[in-house]
């Protein structure tokens, strides 16, 4: 299993989760965990996903998700899990 963290931040609007999930499903990326809150009208979501079945290059997926974010009007980042794991776990 190769885990990545997808973070979505921005002004809340209809269909953010739907659009992000559709993109992930279309690229064989499995969602393992989702946390989501709205703080003062701002949408804040973190997903832990498994990218081991993904066919595309990781960098291409990062670029496409960023572009998708621009279309929805939010910022989407896709990062490999190790940066968080290293920093917060011994």
């Amino acid at each position: 299993m190769k885990k990545c963290i997808v973070t979505v931040l921005g002004k809340d609007t209809v269909g953010i989760i739907a659009k992000v999930c559709t993109y992930l499903a279309g690229n064989e990326i499995n969602i393992l965990d989702i946390s989501q809150t709205i703080i003062q009208g701002y949408f804040n979501m973190m997903m832990i996903v498994d990218v081991s079945g993904m066919k595309k290059d990781f960098k291409v997926v990062c670029d496409e998700m960023e572009k998708l974010g621009e279309e929805i009007g939010v910022s989407i980042h896709c990062q490999k899990e190790e940066i968080f794991e290293k920093m917060h776990r011994l």
């Binding site: 990062q79 899990e81 940066i83």
Partner: protein, 454 residues
């Protein structure tokens, strides 16, 4: 599993607090390029660097993208050229041809600096080493990406005062050779005591002869992250203050360890060390001076500055050491003037003086760094300043360095502009009493008594 709070903490550090990996520095040994034919030597150097480092920049960019962490610089350090060129170079001009080759190789592989146009002369100088040192002004004036360093002393050998005298002249000549750019050449020239073999930070990086054929060394940074963390413990006791610095340094260093491991694996080059340094940039919120002010100083330079810096430096090391498998290089807080907005402001406000900076270098990572001084300062006065700093390093068994920029045509009240990461600096006054008779004495200062440990 990682939770949302942890993810947002990391990303906040990156996006708002200037967390980055300051440099991936690829050390390349050039010992196997040595040849008595100068042309052949240049060809071998170019070939080795452009072969070993061909994927360095693209690998760094891939890591940045995949982990979402900026890697500001990708650089190369090499075996001191005084050794590599000793068989082929008979004159300073011969050494300059190697500088041109290195500059071309750096451009070809896309690194912004290549360090190791260096000589290690802490006890004595060979003819070749003297020629290299004499070639530095021309080499730095004619190239763009070369960094040069000279080690003139160590705790075990004492201080080579003949080299100190020569260095004062070379700093002055480099300033004159690059006078059109506010004497920028001097920003790429460092004089060391106890220079480490594995330093990834420019301008003092070189790959020592104790090192392997190639090695990955990584320099981390993160003054902004420490500053923000300390904002949350205002008014609290030293225990909490120190714990906060340690925890933050640990987190910052872990990112460096991850990047170093990835770079090493992908390039197939062994991992050397992480340099645990708080390296500031001229960007707002990326300042070591601001950390000291957050600790409780009205301005850097005020009474208490040396104590606060000593504590900061020690806590950064204590937090960072456990986060990395190997720690080396300079490791500590850097206090360059031109590269730190808080330091510049303190100089302009009249709070920070040359003498206080010298005191601060006794307890921090490097030395008198990126300080612009009047262009009229004599070579012997520059040598005197170098000698003072070398003595601090020698006696305290630590690395110290001098990177002074006598800005030709400018005086106290003017400002020198270096651009980019090198920043800008107000010209600082220098004590105008001379030390000519001291500097003109020949020979070396013996090693201190506590160096005899066998």
């Amino acid at each position: 599993m990682i939770n949302m709070y942890e993810v947002s903490e990391t990303n906040k550090m990156i996006e708002h607090e200037n967390l980055d990996v300051r440099t991936i520095t690829l050390g390349i040994s050039l010992l196997d390029c040595i040849d008595s034919n100068l042309e052949e030597l240049n060809r071998k150097i170019y070939e080795k660097i452009t072969t070993v480092a061909k994927d360095l920049v693209s690998t760094g960019q891939d890591i940045e993208r995949e982990f979402g962490i900026p890697i500001v610089n990708k650089r190369i350090s090499i075996t001191p050229i005084s050794l590599v060129g000793s068989a082929a170079c008979k004159t300073p001009e011969d050494f300059v041809t190697i500088a041109r080759t290195l500059d071309c190789a750096a451009k070809e592989v896309g690194v912004n600096f290549i360090g190791g146009y260096s000589a290690l002369v802490s006890k004595g100088m060979t003819k070749s080493e003297e020629n290299l040192i004499r070639s530095i002004p021309q080499a730095l004036a004619e190239t763009e990406r070369i960094c040069s360093s000279i080690n003139v002393g160590s705790t075990r050998t004492g201080i080579n005062m003949d080299a100190v005298r020569l260095c004062g002249e070379v700093v002055k000549a480099t300033a004159e050779a690059t006078a059109d750019n506010d004497s920028l050449g001097c920003a790429k020239l460092v004089v060391f005591c106890n220079a480490p073999d594995d330093n990834p930070f420019m301008a003092g990086a070189f790959l020592g002869v104790t090192e392997a054929d190639s090695v990955i060394n990584v320099g981390v940074s993160g003054p902004g992250v420490v500053k923000k963390a300390l904002e949350r413990v205002r008014g609290k006791g030293f225990e909490e203050l120190c714990e906060t610095i340690k925890k933050t340094a640990f987190k910052v260093t872990r990112v460096g360890q991850l990047v170093a491991g990835e770079a090493s694996r992908r390039l197939g080059i062994p991992f050397g060390i992480i340099d645990l340094s708080l390296a500031p940039t001229p960007a707002i919120g990326d300042s070591v001076a601001e950390i000291l002010e957050e600790i409780g100083l009205e301005r850097v330079g005020a009474p208490g500055t040396t104590a606060a810096l000593a504590m900061l430096n020690d806590q950064v090391k204590k937090g960072g050491v456990m986060a990395s498998s190997y720690v080396g290089g300079l490791s500590g807080a850097f206090i360059p003037v031109s590269e730190d907005q808080g330091m510049i402001d303190a100089v302009n406000a009249g709070s920070l003086t040359m003498e206080k900076l010298e005191a601060m270098t006794c307890v921090c990572s490097v030395g008198l760094d990126m300080i612009a001084i009047p262009g009229k300062t004599s070579a012997s006065t520059i040598s005197g300043m170098i000698a003072d700093e070398m003595a601090i390093g020698m006696v305290n068994q630590k690395t110290t360095a001098v990177r002074l920029i006598p800005v030709i045509g400018k005086d106290v009240g003017d400002t020198a502009e270096f651009g980019g990461l090198l920043g800008y600096a107000p010209i600082m006054p220098v004590n105008e009493f001379g030390c000519e008779a001291f500097i003109s004495r020949e020979g070396r200062i013996p090693a201190p008594i506590h160096s005899f440990k066998n």
